[in-house]
Symmetry: C2
Subunit: 412 residues, 2 copies
């Protein structure tokens, strides 16, 4: 019987306990050992519940108990999670976690600590909830040199964008609904500003490219400026707007970013709706593969954590190989990456603007929505962000622009 401790009895923590109970028999068979929860670390008590006697408020009790071989950290946040996890690994306990902040910040170092102590540090649940992506990257796509990962990595923003698209409602209104449904936090910044997706693409990039990608270096835009009008244009063009996290190797250099993008219907990511996540991986021999599923939620996330526990139990005494070195990867400046842009300009002088756009941007495709008089939109040729900003400035000088209403990256 393998004894484990769960750090944090919130949504995911209680999910882990539930999954271990529900599927006890099949999990025992697959792990080759029974798995039993010896401790639950939480600040709250849970009187009258089945876990009452497992709860402790003292982490050292867990740390100093040699019977505990696996620790599942699902508290979230960098501290005290980092101290607890590091301590457990140094005591020869394997650790599994769903904590993307921790993994994005200290993943490479904690993997090293695990190796040094002949234990394992696994974090399948930190990206894509229940979707198997970390293990396939490490163990299935080993014949490939991966050159791109692009995904919808945040369910909250995908839910909001789906609702905005389908129902023509504004961001603020849908955000409120998402908060009421429990899909968005009271402080929604981590989701809607793209920080959550940024940490996840940092983790995936580090694993795919084998070096340490700092999330602080990743160009990150959220969805707060995406408007109902943008959605109307997307519909008109047969596109959708999605918050994509992307990371790409080009001439031995990598760039990464998180930004809302207008994408065509032929892109399978355009069909990913509501709280679902999907991750596209492109390799030099496999071509494109995509992984799709629920990117969050109590049981899907707990499923991934428990699968990590099973893997740890099957690999007691051996190191599961992962190629995430502590060596820092210098990212390319995303301002220098050429992209196609969709630009919306408020103006009452269409003819003059069209002339000015053609003068500054060359031949472009103009888009005019029916019934919209005070606005014109166009699709730029490929240009770098720096170049685009410069041209937009020039355009405002050349012609009677009221306002540059929106600038979105586009891939049809």
């Amino acid at each position: 019987m393998i004894k484990i401790a769960i750090l944090g009895y919130g949504t995911v923590g209680s999910g882990i306990y539930e999954v271990l109970e529900t599927n006890k028999e099949s999990i025992t068979k697959k792990a080759g050992h029974g798995i039993s929860v010896k401790y639950i670390l939480d600040l709250k008590d849970f009187p009258g519940t089945p876990i009452e006697k497992l709860v402790t408020k003292n982490y050292n009790e867990i740390l100093e108990d040699p019977e505990v071989q696996v620790v599942a950290e699902v508290m979230g946040g960098v501290e005290p999670a980092y101290t607890f996890v590091k301590g457990a690994l140094e005591k020869g306990k394997s650790v599994v976690t769903s904590n993307k902040e921790l993994v994005a910040k200290h993943g490479a170092e904690l993997l090293e600590t695990a190796r040094a102590n002949k234990v394992n540090f696994l974090f399948e649940a930190s990206v894509g909830g229940g979707i198997p992506i970390i293990r396939p990257l490490n163990q299935s796509l080993t014949a490939d040199e991966i050159y791109e990962i692009t995904g919808i990595l945040n369910g909250t923003t995908n839910f909001i964008l789906t609702k905005m698209f389908n129902e023509g409602r504004e961001f603020e209104e849908v955000l409120k609904e998402a908060q009421e449904l429990g899909y968005a936090e009271r402080n929604p910044a981590a989701d809607v500003e793209g920080h959550d997706a940024c940490r996840k693409i940092a983790i995936l990039s580090s694993l795919a490219f084998g070096m340490n990608v700092s999330y602080e270096d990743i160009h990150t835009e959220g969805i707060t400026r995406v408007s109902t009008r943008d959605m109307e244009y997307a519909k008109h063009l047969g596109c959708e707007i999605k918050l994509l996290a992307t990371s790409r190797k080009q001439d031995h250099k990598v760039y990464a970013m998180v930004a809302p993008m207008m994408i065509g219907k032929e892109n399978p990511l355009s069909n990913v709706h509501d709280v679902f996540n999907a991750i596209f991986v492109k390799g030099n021999v496999i071509g494109d593969v995509m992984f799709y599923g629920r990117g969050a939620g109590k049981l899907p996330t707990a499923s991934a954590v428990v699968a990590d526990i099973v893997d740890v139990v099957k690999h007691m005494g051996t190191s599961i190989i992962s190629h995430w070195s502590t060596e820092k990867m210098e990212l390319m400046d995303t301002e220098k990456i050429p992209a196609t842009y969709f630009v919306t300009v408020k103006t009452d002088f269409h003819a003059a603007i069209r002339d000015a756009v053609n003068k500054v941007f060359g031949e472009v495709e103009f888009v005019q929505l029916e019934g919209v008089e005070d606005e014109i939109a166009f699709i730029s040729g490929k240009s770098t962000e720096g170049d685009l900003q410069e041209k937009v400035r020039k355009l405002a000088q050349e012609a009677p622009v009221t306002e540059i209403a929106s600038v979105l990256r586009m891939e049809r």
Copy 2:
């Protein structure tokens, strides 16, 4: 340096050689050892090519060479593949294969032989080409009890159905084009009659449910009877027609089948086009996850075979666990599984047919295509296949039916 042998230098075999050369450096790093091809078994010679000196026509040379630790079998067909693979495992060599006929027929037994000889038998490439699905089933979804697998497992038929849907062309015509493009064999039966998909769902079911599912027991229909008219109805209803392979656990029993199905746009499988494959897995805690990619082709398939080689090299001396026992699983009779059916009836007497349909089937949804006078279609309530056949017979007696033109399973 690990020495391997490749059995069969056709499309996949040459792909394996190419992948090992192209990504030599990263593969060595991930496997922890260099991997070099010592033999290639083929009936042809390849004079003047880099592999000339590796080719042998004598399998015993490979079998008796203790230096060969891994054998990649990519000849296809049951014999002599089975004899070669069995022999290699008994000699203490690990085997990887892309051969779905072999795995569907002898998978459980060969896994047992591998275990008994402390080597591994891996077959990621036998289902879904490059898509990681076998390893995720074995190693990632371990916290779950899987209750359903449904997939588009054959690229050829998906290509044909996509063309029929998009271009309004008939089956025979598109099949010819697929043959010219090399997507379909000269004898297309294995693909278009559903046998290929049948073997693949047998493999997936065996792994997911841990017992041996015989492909001979699986109810299998192909796409040869799907007509352009069926596609028109599908479009009219906002559906697509896909060849789905499905396997489902219900009340501790399993049923499995391969059949063309009319599915709604909300089903992510409806967005899988051309030669792409996708596999939906449903678990009791993870919910739905989907794996998507190229289900065939030289390099994607070779990528999966080489990933298996890497896994074998990383696990020399230990058994990679898989829960496919030789115990035979009795499948439920699919005739007893209730489904919704889409039925097309040729007739010149619409009013009489409508009355008779309502009398025999109860209230149904009628579907009338514009400009189609001699035909009426309807969507049945849920009924078993036996029940449906009985009702259809009754309908033909009750009313002036010219012909039952089409009966398709449907899931909206």
